[in-house]
Subunit: 283 residues, 2 copies
C-alpha cells in the first residue's frame, strides 16, 4: 500500500502525514527539514550505532544547557548555522557595513557615555582610542545614531563572566552621534578567547580537528531612527585566528587595523566607519 | 578573502575547517550533515525568530530526557528517521520478514517458556492463540530459532510502564523452535496506544495536525544461529491507525489477521510465518 513507509519514499511518507490545521509556513519548513534530514541519512547510510551516537550527543547538548549556558546556540555557531541565518536575514548593498553573529555577551542598557569617555573601568589592558564615523550609503553623516559597544578584558573575559573581579559595565558603553556622525571613545585592544569547550560541542570540535578560539574582536550594535540595525564586530588585523574563527564570524570588511599612538594618551588608535542602510518601508 | 564565510559558500567554509586527525567516516558524515543542514536553511530562508524557536525546541527536548524518557528518540521516531535508519541497515530480499522499529519497551532475558504456554500472566484482555512457523528463504523450517515476544495489555501499557499493577514479565516470553520450526503460544490481542505526547514532540505533532497513536501491534525479535536477527512487529488488521502510525512503523507485509476461535480456549487465533535470511559472512 502506497501510504506506508518505504526507504525510497520515506520523506513523502512523513510529510504526507501533515494535516489541517497546519500553518503554511510550518508546513513549508517541516517539508524541507524532513527532506534534507532524510537526504543526509540516505547519503551517508547512517548506521544504527551512529544514530545512537547522534541521539546521545543531542541529549547531552540539551542537558548541559542552563540559564548561563546555551550549548545548542554554541552548536549552531560552530556549524555555521548562526552565521548563515544572520546572512540570510541581513543582506545589504555593497558598501554597507556587514552583520556578524550577535554572541551571548551583550547586556542591554549599558551606560550612556560622552564622546571621548573610556569604557575601560579597571584601566587594565592595552589602551586604544576608537574612532570613526556613522554614515549613510551616500557618505553623509548620520546624527542621533546609537553605538552600543562591548568587548572582553585583557584576559579574554567579558564583565558578566567575571562578576567578582571586573567592575559592572567594564568595557561596555553606549554613545550617540552628533551632527558630524563621528564617534570617539577609549577602551582596550581586545584579545582572542576560546568558546566554552568543556561540553559536547568542545568534544565535537576536537573530533573534527578544530580549535575553539575566536579572533580578537570588539562588538558593536548600531541603531538609528529610519535605519536598519547593525549587529557586528570589528576584528583585530593580524590576529592568529582571523581565518579560523570557531564560529565563522569574520568577514574581510570587518577587519580593523590598530596603529601605535606614540603621541597620544593611548597605546593604540583604531579607526572604523560604519555605513547604515535605510529601513525598508516593510520593516 | 575566499576562506571567510559567505552566504553562498557557507557549507564549504564550515567543512573546509576540518583538519587532521579526523576519522574519514566522521568527515563524510559531517560534510553531508552540514551541506544538508545549510541547504535546508537556505531553502526556507529561516528567520531569526524561527531559528530561536528551533533552539528552544531542541533545548526543551534535551531537558525533558531522563532515565525513563528519551524525547530525542521520540523525535527521531516521529520524523521517520528511526524507520529510515532501520530500513537502510536491514535491507532484505523479497519474501524475507521485514524489520520495523525496536521501540523502547523491550526487556532482555524474558522467561523461557514452552510452546503452547501463555504470556498473559494476569489473564486480562482478549485471549489469542498465536502460531506460525520460522522458515528460511527456501521455505524450510529453522530449528533452534528464539522468538522473543512482548506486547501491551488491554489498557495499552507494557508491564514496565505499570510495575505496580501488572505482574513482572506480563505479556512477555521467549520460545525456541523445534525441528518443525513451529511456534505456538497464548497471549492477548494487543490494543493501540499513544506515544508520550505531553512534551515538545507532542506539541510538534499537534502543530502538524498529527495524532500520537500507534496501531495495535505485537513485538517480535527473532534470532537463530547463522541467520540475521529480525526486530519487528505484527500489526492487527483493521486497526484505525494502520495508515497513520505516529512512528511510521507499519509495513503491509506485517499486518496480521485475527480470526475468531469459537471452538478453542481463546477468543482469537492469529497466524504469522517469519522468514529469516542467512547472515552474510561479513557480519
Ligand atoms: Fe565576543
Ligand atoms: Fe509497542
Amino acid at each position: 500500500m502506497s501510504d506506508f513507509f518505504s526507504e525510497a519514499r520515506s520523506a513523502q511518507a512523513v510529510n504526507g502525514r501533515m494535516a489541517e490545521p497546519v500553518s503554511p509556513r510550518l508546513r513549508q519548513i517541516m517539508t524541507s527539514l524532513v527532506e534534507h534530514l532524510h537526504g543526509f541519512i540516505r547519503e551517508v547510510e547512517l548506521s544504527e550505532a551512529e544514530w545512537q551516537q547522534a541521539i546521545d550527543f543531542l541529549t547531552r547538548t540539551g542537558q548541559i544547557c542552563s540559564p548561563e549556558r546555551q550549548e545548542f546556540i554554541l552548536l549552531s555557531d560552530t556549524l555555521g548555522v548562526s552565521m548563515l541565518v544572520d546572512a540570510i536575514n541581513h543582506r545589504r548593498p555593497p558598501g554597507a557595513t556587514e552583520n556578524t553573529v550577535f554572541g551571548p555577551f551583550h547586556v542591554a542598557n549599558a551606560p550612556l557615555r560622552q564622546m571621548g569617555d573610556t569604557i575601560s573601568l579597571d584601566g587594565k589592558g592595552e589602551s586604544c582610542l576608537f574612532r570613526g564615523r556613522v554614515l549613510d550609503l551616500d557618505g553623509q553623516p548620520i546624527a542621533g545614531a546609537m553605538l552600543d559597544v562591548w568587548s572582553d578584558n585583557e584576559d579574554g573575559y567579558y564583565d558578566v563572566q567575571q562578576p567578582q573581579s571586573q567592575p559592572r559595565w567594564n568595557n561596555r558603553g553606549r554613545f550617540i552621534t552628533g551632527a558630524d556622525g563621528r564617534y570617539t571613545f577609549r577602551g582596550v585592544r581586545p584579545v582572542s578567547y576560546p568558546i566554552p569547550d568543556d561540553g559536547p560541542v568542545g568534544m565535537m570540535l576536537a573530533a573534527l580537528g578544530r580549535h575553539p578560539w575566536r579572533p580578537a574582536h570588539t562588538h558593536f550594535m548600531l541603531t538609528a531612527p529610519g535605519y536598519q540595525r547593525i549587529v557586528t564586530h570589528t576584528f583585530v588585523a593580524g590576529d592568529n585566528y582571523l581565518t579560523s574563527d570557531a564560529v565563522f564570524g569574520v568577514k574581510a570588511s570587518l577587519i580593523q587595523h590598530f596603529e601605535p599612538n606614540p603621541r597620544g594618551d593611548t597605546l593604540w588608535t583604531a579607526d572604523f566607519d560604519f555605513v547604515m542602510t535605510t529601513q525598508s518601508p516593510y520593516c
